[in-house]
Amino acid sequence: MLLLYVLIAEWLFFYFAGTTVNRRGVTVGFGTLDRQFDILRHSCEIGLLALALTPVIITAGIDLSVGSLLGLCAILFGKFWHDGGLPIPIAATLALGCGALGGALNAALITALRLPPLIVTLGTYSLFRGLAEAITRGSVTYTNFPEGFLFIGQERWLGLPAQAWLFFAVAIGVWVLVHRMTFGRSFRAIGFSPEGARYAGLPVDRHIALAYILAGLIAALAAIIYTARLGQAKADAGTGYELFAITAVVLGGTSIFGGRGSVTGTLLGVAAIAVLKSGLASLPVVMRMNAAEEMSGVLTGALLLLALTAGVLPRLWSQRRARHAAVPKTLPTS
C-alpha cells in the first residue's frame, strides 16, 4: 500500500516539476498525455519480465536469464520471418515456443538435478545472449517489418498504445494464476517451505517447472513487443532488463526469500520505476545534464537496497528483542 502512495507522490512531483509551457504556449514535458503514453509504451517489456519473475520469486527462485532470453527470442523471431520466409503470426508462435523451451531448460536443470536457480540461470543468461550474438554474428539486425506488425509496438488501439493491451492481458493472466488459482497457493507453499509443500502432497517439481517455463514464454512475448516497438530485432535486445524487472518485483513487496508477493505489487513497482525514469528525463535540471538514464539507474539501485533493508529491519529488531528477552541476566534461584 505504501508503494501506491509513493507512486502517487512521485507522479505528482514530476507533474508539477517536469511540465512546462514553451514559448508557443504549448504544454510540454511530463504532464502531457503523449508522455504518459510513452511511459506505458516503454514499460511494457520490463513490465512483462517483472510479471514473469513474480511467480518464480514467490517460489523462492530467481531467473537471471529472462533479459537474455528476450534477446534470443527477438533474434529468432526476426530470423524465422526474414530468413525463413514465414508469415509473422507463425514466426511469432515459433518464437514463443522457443521462449518456453528456454524456460524449460532452466526448469529441467533446477528440478531434475536440484541445482541452485541462481547459478543455472546465470549460465543460461550467458548462453542465451551468446546464442543471439552467434546467430547474428554480432551485426545482423532484422528490419523492414510490415506495417501491420509494427502497429503492435508503435500505434494506438482503442486510445491506448497497442502493446499495452497485450501487457494488461498478461498481467490479468498472471494475476489470476497467482491469486485465483491453486497454482498460486502452491507457489507460495513452495516458497515458504518446500518440504512442507512436499509433505502436503503437492507436485513441487512440476509447479516449479511451470513457473520457469511461463517466465520463458512471457520473455518471448516481450521480445516480440520489443521488436515491434523499435522496428528491429537485434542481439542486444533487453540487456540489463532482468535487473529492472527484479527491482520492480522486490519493490512491489515480493519477498526475495519466497512465499510473500503479489502481482498488483509488481505492477506498482513497474510503474514506480517507469515514472521515475521518464519523470527524471523531463526535469529541466536533468535535461540540461542529459543524464536521465544514468540517474534513474542510480536511483533504482538505491531504491532496491532501501526496499530490501526496510523489508528485513522489523525481523532483525524482533530477533534482537527475542534474544534479549530469552536470556535472563541472572539465574533466579528458587
Binding site: L109, L115, V120, S126, G130, A134, E294, A302
Partner: protein, 308 residues
C-alpha cells in the same frame, strides 16, 4: 587423489584443449600473443581469486564489474594528474575495499541475500559512473603505461604480480586460520558459530577482500592502455564467476580452491583466441562460456547425486 579430482579434471580438460590446439592450430602457441593474452587476463585472475573466496564463503558478488570500472576511472584520473603510482596503488585498493565494505555491511549486517544486494550496487555504481563521466575516456600519459617500462617488461611485471598474488592468496587460504574460517563459514555457518568463529565478521571480511582485490585489478588495468574506458568492467563478473565455478568451487560454499579457479580461468580465457585460430567466429564466445558454466554445474550436480 580423489580429494582433488574436481581440480584435476579441469586441468585435464585444459590439457586436452591445448593438445587439440597444438594439432589443429599450432599458430596459437606463439610467445608474443600468449604474453598479451596473459597480460589481458591478469586483472581477471586477481578478481577471480576474490570471487573464489566469496563463493567458498557461500556468497556471491556480481558488482565486481562495476567496482572495477569505478576504481579504474578514479585511479586513472589521479594517475593522469601525475600522482605517483606507488601512492595510487593503495588508494585503488582502499577505494575497492570501501565499496566492498558497503556490500559486506548490507549482506553480513542486515542478512540480505548477496545476489540482490550486489545486483543493486552493480547498477548503482555503473550508472553513477556514467552520470558523472558521461562515458568520457581518461587519457593516460605515457609514464603511466606499463609503469613507464618497456612494454614487454611491463607485461611480464603484470603477469608475475598476478601470479604472485594468486600464490599468496592460495597459500593463505590453505595455511592461515583466516582462510580456514572462510571454508568453515561456507560449509556451515551455524557450526562455525558454535566453534567460536563469527560468521558475520568473516562474511564482511570476504566482501572487503574482493573489493580490495578488484581495486588492485583495476590498477593493473589502467597501466595497460593509453586510455581508460568507463565500460572496462562490463561483464567481468560473469567471466570470473564462470572461471571459479568451472574451476570446481562449489556454488553451495565450502568447497574448492584457488588453483582450480586458476585452471578454470585459463580454460575460459583460451576460448576466444582458440576460436579465432580454429576459424570459428568470435561471436560464439559468450555462448560457449555459458555452455561451459552449465556443463560444470551439471557435472557437479550429477556427481553430488551419485554420492548422495
Amino acid at each position: 587423489m580423489s580429494r582433488y579430482f574436481r581440480e584435476l579434471s579441469v586441468v585435464g580438460a585444459l590439457a586436452v584443449a591445448l593438445i587439440a590446439m597444438a594439432v589443429f592450430a599450432p599458430a596459437f602457441f606463439q610467445p608474443q600473443p600468449l604474453l598479451s593474452l596473459a597480460t589481458r587476463e591478469a586483472p581477471t585472475l586477481v578478481v577471480a581469486c576474490g570471487m573464489a573466496l566469496v563463493i567458498i564463503c557461500r556468497q556471491i558478488d556480481i558488482s565486481v564489474g562495476s567496482m572495477f570500472s569505478v576504481v579504474s576511472v578514479c585511479t586513472g584520473i589521479l594517475a593522469a594528474r601525475g600522482w605517483p603510482l606507488l601512492l595510487v596503488l593503495p588508494i585503488a585498493a582502499g577505494l575497492g575495499a570501501a565499496l566492498g565494505a558497503l556490500n559486506g555491511a548490507l549482506v553480513a549486517g542486515l542478512r540480505l541475500p548477496s545476489i540482490v544486494v550486489t545486483l543493486a550496487t552493480m547498477v548503482a555504481l555503473r550508472q553513477g559512473l556514467n552520470l558523472v563521466r558521461q562515458g568520457e575516456f581518461v587519457n593516460m600519459p605515457d609514464t603511466v603505461q606499463w609503469f613507464g617500462l618497456p612494454q614487454a617488461t611491463g607485461q611480464w611485471v603484470l603477469v608475475i604480480c598476478a601470479l604472485a598474488l594468486l600464490a599468496a592468496l592460495g597459500l593463505g587460504l590453505r595455511h592461515l586460520a583466516a582462510g580456514r574460517f572462510v571454508y568453515a563459514v561456507g560449509t556451515d555457518a551455524e557450526a562455525a558459530r558454535l566453534a567460536g568463529i563469527r560468521p558475520q565478521l568473516v562474511t564482511f571480511g570476504v566482501f572487503v577482500f574482493i573489493g580490495a582485490l578488484t581495486g588492485l585489478a583495476a590498477m593493473m588495468n589502467i597501466v595497460q592502455s593509453p586510455q581508460v574506458q568507463p565500460l572496462s568492467g562490463m561483464g567481468l563478473e560473469l567471466k570470473v564467476i564462470a572461471a571459479v565455478v568451472v574451476g570446481g568451487v562449489a556454488i553451495s560454499g565450502g568447497r574448492g580452491n584457488l588453483w582450480g579457479a586458476f585452471a578454470g580461468l585459463l580454460l575460459l580465457a583460451c576460448v576466444a583466441p582458440a576460436l579465432t585460430h580454429l576459424r570459428i567466429e568470435a561471436y560464439w564466445e559468450k555462448a560457449i562460456q555459458g555452455a561451459i558454466i552449465l556443463l560444470a554445474v551439471v557435472a557437479d550436480g550429477l556427481r553430488e547425486r551419485r554420492q548422495a
